[in-house]
């Protein structure tokens, strides 16, 4: 419980998406009216979130960077056709996911991990302290990189669709409804994929979850 609280408190800064959506729509309308520089604001706003999603799906920072660039270019080209029927972020996430899937399908991305350095903050301390107790003698930095690698390995063993659901729900903190919209499936499918994926991950990471 302690870990959930600590991690949750530090990381659950999930933005209020409803108010965000209306703000985005106003920006999109300005872009559609010809103020192209306004699109830069949207890029700045969403690039880190998109990076997080794509990076956790492909586990390679260079590929993730390239995919997000392509996704933003596609969005920039398609923005005149955006009617505002869904929120901008749902639309943008959809484009990013399609681009990711296409890249993975074309087998273009490198088959090795290229991981970001995990920043050590208060939230990770609690987990690391616990793991250090479990793995006696291990230094925190070693433990952290080992854990990072294991996590990525475990994620990569999942199918891309299961991985996507896990990333969107557990890492990005999106709701089932939002994930269903982004992945163009039903909420039931999302729940079932999430359940299966978590079971698989539990098996892969059982050494760390004792």
């Amino acid at each position: 419980m302690e870990f959930s609280k600590t991690v949750g408190k530090a990381l659950s800064a999930v933005p209020e998406r409803n108010s965000e959506a209306s703000g985005d729509w106003a920006l999109v309308q300005r872009v559609q009216a010809g103020e192209l520089h306004v699109f830069d604001w949207l890029i700045k706003k969403y690039r880190e979130r998109l990076f997080s999603i794509v990076y956790n799906i492909v586990s390679n920072r260079e590929d993730a960077s390239e995919i997000i660039q392509d996704a933003f270019i596609k969005a920039f080209r398609a923005v005149p056709k955006f009617k505002g029927k869904s929120s901008f972020f749902t639309w943008l996430y959809k484009i990013a996911l399609h681009t990711t899937y296409n890249t993975v399908r074309k087998n273009r991305f490198k088959r090795f991990f290229s991981l970001e350095k995990m920043s050590e903050d208060a939230s990770s301390e609690a987990i690391l302290d616990y793991l250090q107790g479990q793995h006696s003698g291990a230094e925190k930095s070693v433990l952290l990189s080992e854990l990072q690698e294991k996590l990525n390995e475990a994620l990569q063993k999942l199918s891309i669709k299961h991985r996507t659901v896990v990333v969107l729900f557990e890492i990005e903190g999106l709701s089932h409804t939002e994930i269903a919209q982004i992945t163009e499936t039903t909420e039931g499918t999302v729940r079932s994929r999430l359940h299966y994926a978590k079971q698989e991950l539990q098996n892969y990471l059982k050494d760390y979850l004792k």
Binding site: E2, F3, S52, R61, Q69, D121, I127, G133, L205
Partner: protein, 165 residues
């Protein structure tokens, strides 16, 4: 402190906690500088090299219906190839063929020559739009009549051609 330690020992780490650690994997400022630079270059490139609307439309049609488009293209190629082939056969059967301009009402003349033979077609003038064109009386290997805008090889020695409008 003792209670906290005890809590640590009894509280197992949840999978969700481990996954939330992934949020800590964030790129640094240099990464974003590089990202912005590359993205800007790509954006400028598409602004400069904006494709013509027609090409964009063709691409979108191709993407959406590439199977249908490829089937139509293949059929069109096949038909064109067949027509070209037929035309070649016709040309090879004749030494020389010359036909007057397309039918003009009440005034048609066609000349066909092959080797030493020379034929003239007589035109039967008529007041009605429907009329008889010609009769070829001299034997030859192949004859040609101009009909419906195309050549039709006729391998008979004596042929009557009827055309109507």
């Amino acid at each position: 402190m003792v209670i906290q330690n005890l809590e640590k020992e009894v509280s197992p780490i949840q999978l969700e906690d481990l996954l939330k650690l992934k949020r800590l994997e964030r790129p640094d400022g240099h990464f974003w500088e590089d990202f912005d630079r590359k993205l800007e270059a790509k954006r400028l490139e598409i602004l400069i090299k904006k494709e013509p609307i027609g090409l964009q439309w063709l691409k979108s049609v191709w993407k959406k219906h590439f199977r249908l488009v490829s089937a139509i293209s293949a059929s069109a190629c096949a038909v064109f190839g067949l027509m070209h082939h037929t035309s070649l056969i016709q040309r090879s059967a004749l030494h020389f063929a010359e036909v007057s301009s397309p039918f003009i009402k009440n005034n048609i003349a066609a000349y066909v020559s092959e080797g030493n033979a020379y034929f003239a077609q007589n035109v039967m003038r008529g007041a009605q739009p429907s009329f008889q064109v010609a009769t070829l009386a001299v034997p030859c290997k192949s004859q040609v009549c101009y009909m419906n805008g195309g050549f039709t090889p006729l391998n008979t020695a004596k042929t009557s051609v009827h055309a109507s409008f």
